[in-house]
């Protein structure tokens, strides 16, 4: 995994978030309390004079880890975040694809409608998945959250899509260029507060965080950020290996994203 220059990555992300702010009327961000979306908030604070100038949305299915909820409360207070919690209801018979596709998306649709958000900042990265590598920085979704991946808008020279569909919204991806290791380098450099689940306990840690039903920890002795960065230099395991495989299988991610999954 290549370690990129985090200063230029940060500059790029600041530029993109400012574009989002000036191009749309009502911007919000998704915050899962994971490393990427938390790093994104740290960058937003640098872009906008020490404050996050848009609401942050947590789609809560009630089965996130206790550490995740604690982390949410403490950081929301510390950074004075305008937190919107959308509740999705977990059905016992659902898991993986059906669960993320249906539950989370339904809850998010409701929030977008209620608040009238026309753009949504989402902290995905190209190196996470082959499908995510195909994304644009500004990526339109229609009212059903459909991603028209077979006919994406042209995007060149910092000319981004505008929201031509009044019922739809634009997904903004300020972290698309970052690699997993860059996120950790940034967290270390900027001392970004982090969810404790990422650090090893009893020989295991979470490398990618979802809910308690679909995420399993990976074997690791990395107890701090330095050790995580070292681990990433040699690993041959995919970052999302700890995610429910049902969701990661070929073409399933594509279908999920087409349905509006983050």
């Amino acid at each position: 995994m290549i370690k990129q220059d985090i200063k230029s990555l940060e500059e790029r992300s600041i530029y993109v978030m400012r574009e989002a702010k000036s191009n749309f009327k009502n911007v919000a961000a998704l915050w899962s309390m994971g490393k990427d979306s938390t790093a994104m908030l740290a960058i937003a604070r640098k872009a906008f004079h020490g404050k996050v100038p848009f609401p942050v949305i947590h789609i809560d299915n009630g089965i996130d880890f206790p550490e995740t909820y604690e982390f949410r409360e403490s950081l929301a207070k510390k950074w004075k975040l305008n937190l919107i919690v959308g509740n999705s209801v977990i059905k016992p018979e659902m898991s993986g694809y059906a669960c993320c596709g249906a539950n989370k998306t339904v809850a998010l649709k409701k929030i977008l409608k209620e608040y009238g958000f026309d753009a949504l900042i989402v902290s995905i990265r190209r190196d996470e998945h082959g499908i995510r590598a195909k994304e644009r920085v500004f990526s339109p979704r229609n009212k059903d959250f459909k991603w028209n991946y077979k006919d994406q808008a042209a995007e060149l020279w910092d000319n981004y899509s505008s929201n031509d569909d009044s019922d739809g919204h634009i997904r903004v991806h300020p972290l698309l260029d970052w690699n997993e290791v860059d996120i950790w380098n940034y967290i270390r450099k900027e001392k970004v507060p982090m969810n404790p689940l990422y650090f090893s306990r009893n020989g295991y840690r979470y490398r990618s965080l979802g809910c308690t039903h679909c995420t399993t920890p990976v074997k690791s002795n990395a107890k701090d950020i330095n050790q995580i960065i070292k681990e990433l230099e040699v690993t041959d395991t995919e970052e999302r290996a700890g995610r429910d495989q049902d969701k990661e299988r070929e073409f399933v991610m594509e279908k999920l994203r087409a349905l509006g999954y983050m």
Binding site: E11, Y149, D158, E250
Partner: protein
């Protein structure tokens, strides 16, 4: 690590995705898991493993063995970082090819040596567009040489054809490297091929390393900041990005095209207070007076003549759709209505020939004069790329790209 962005170019089926896939595998840049996933898909589709599947992730892409949309993959080799940008080679997917290529520092053009393939109109079109986009460093990989028994004469034939075309369109071809390869068989990609004895140069990846080390930044000395918007808390604070030169505290600036002048009271670089800012920095400038909304896309200049201001611009344009109905251009995400597009000279992309007047046709190019609906700040593409490049819309549909030319 600075990552060199390399766009693939070339006709469909000449092997762009296969080449990147092979490079990823041969340099150990992709996990076993991802390779296995691609292998499984090949099997399921009843086909031989194809390295391109690592890049082509959409179901439709794998099933139809074609790249629909651009993607990227990174490779580290001998402490040099590369990001390969894969693009579709199909004519009807030009907008996706342009989107990918627009991010590149240099280009890797693939030409298939296979009988009946060779240099096509699309090969030339991609070269033309690379030149228009200002990509001056190009490597030409002559691929599928296994299909012609690694024949040197076929390699020379393609090399000469490319050189002739480049000369026609005013590209200096001395600086271009030609490398014979077989992407599918991993010949001459990382290790020098034993099957291509007549070739004295380096392997493809070593050629890329040499090219990336010779990269030189050109800098236009004049100080300018592209403005992105005004802070919602303080109308004297503007957000922007330094395009060239440097700016410092207590400097007087002129905002163009408005022509307003102001004093910089303080500067924040990536959120931190600083006495000055240089090219590439994203900044917040606190000015001595409030700035009106609508300055997005304007330019703050230290010297008021640093860039040009006007509503008529001469451009080199590459067309992807018929220009009709309502025209507009977009520069730095600001849309500007376009009243008239007058052809000065048209260019046949296939031959490189130009002629007076003529018309604008899809997949062809032209020098045109645009009359815009309002004044803008702009500059020659060669001097300040960010102020000299745009996309065109025809009835709100993407219709081509252009660069300011004199």
């Amino acid at each position: 690590m600075i990552v060199n962005r390399v766009t693939l170019l070339g006709n469909k089926d000449h092997g762009k995705s296969t080449l990147i896939g092979s490079l990823l595998i041969n340099t150990g840049s992709v996990s076993e898991q991802r390779i296995n996933d691609a292998k499984k898909t090949s099997k399921k589709l009843g086909r031989q493993f194809e390295p391109g599947y690592i890049l082509d992730s959409f179901q439709e892409e794998r099933e139809n063995e074609m790249t629909i949309d651009t993607t990227r993959a990174q490779v580290k080799y001998k402490s040099t970082g590369f990001e390969f940008i894969d693009v579709p080679g199909h004519e009807e997917l030009m907008k996706n090819m342009l989107s990918g290529a627009s991010y590149a520092d240099f280009a890797l053009l693939i030409v298939s040596a296979k009988k009946d393939e060779g240099i096509t109109e699309q090969t030339k079109r991609h070269l033309f567009v690379a030149k228009l986009m200002g990509i001056n460093k190009i490597i030409v990989a002559v691929n599928k040489l296994d299909s012609v028994n690694y024949d040197e004469a076929r390699f020379e034939e393609i090399t000469d054809g490319i050189k002739q075309y480049l000369n026609k369109i005013g590209f200096k071809s001395e600086s271009i490297n030609f490398v014979p390869i077989s992407a599918y068989n991993s010949e001459n990609l990382v290790k020098k091929s034993k099957k291509i004895k007549w070739y004295g140069g380096s392997s493809l990846i070593d050629t890329l390393v040499a090219l990336s080390n010779s990269r030189k930044e050109s800098s236009h000395g004049k100080s300018m900041v592209l403005l992105q918007g005004v802070s919602e808390d303080d109308s004297r604070s503007v957000f922007g990005k330094v395009l060239s030169g440097s700016i410092r505290k207590n400097q007087r600036i002129t905002i163009q095209p408005e022509g307003h002048t102001s004093l910089i009271k303080s500067i924040f670089v990536s959120g931190r207070r600083s006495a000055k800012a240089t090219a590439g920095n994203v900044v917040t400038l606190e000015l001595d007076r409030a700035v009106k909304e609508g300055i997005k896309g304007s330019v703050a200049c230290a010297d008021r003549d640093a860039c040009r201001v006007g509503s008529s611009i001469n451009v080199l344009f590459f067309d992807t759709k018929p220009l009709k109905g309502k025209l507009s251009i977009k520069m730095n995400s600001v849309e500007i209505p376009c009243r008239k597009a007058e052809v000065m000279r048209s260019i046949s992309v296939a031959t490189g020939e130009t002629k007076e007047k003529g018309s604008i046709k899809p997949l062809q190019a032209a020098y045109i004069r645009l009359s815009l609906g309002k004044k803008i700040a702009f500059e020659d593409f060669e001097k300040v790329p960010e102020l000299g490049r745009f996309v065109m819309y025809s009835d709100r549909k993407f219709a081509g790209i252009g660069v300011v030319h004199n």
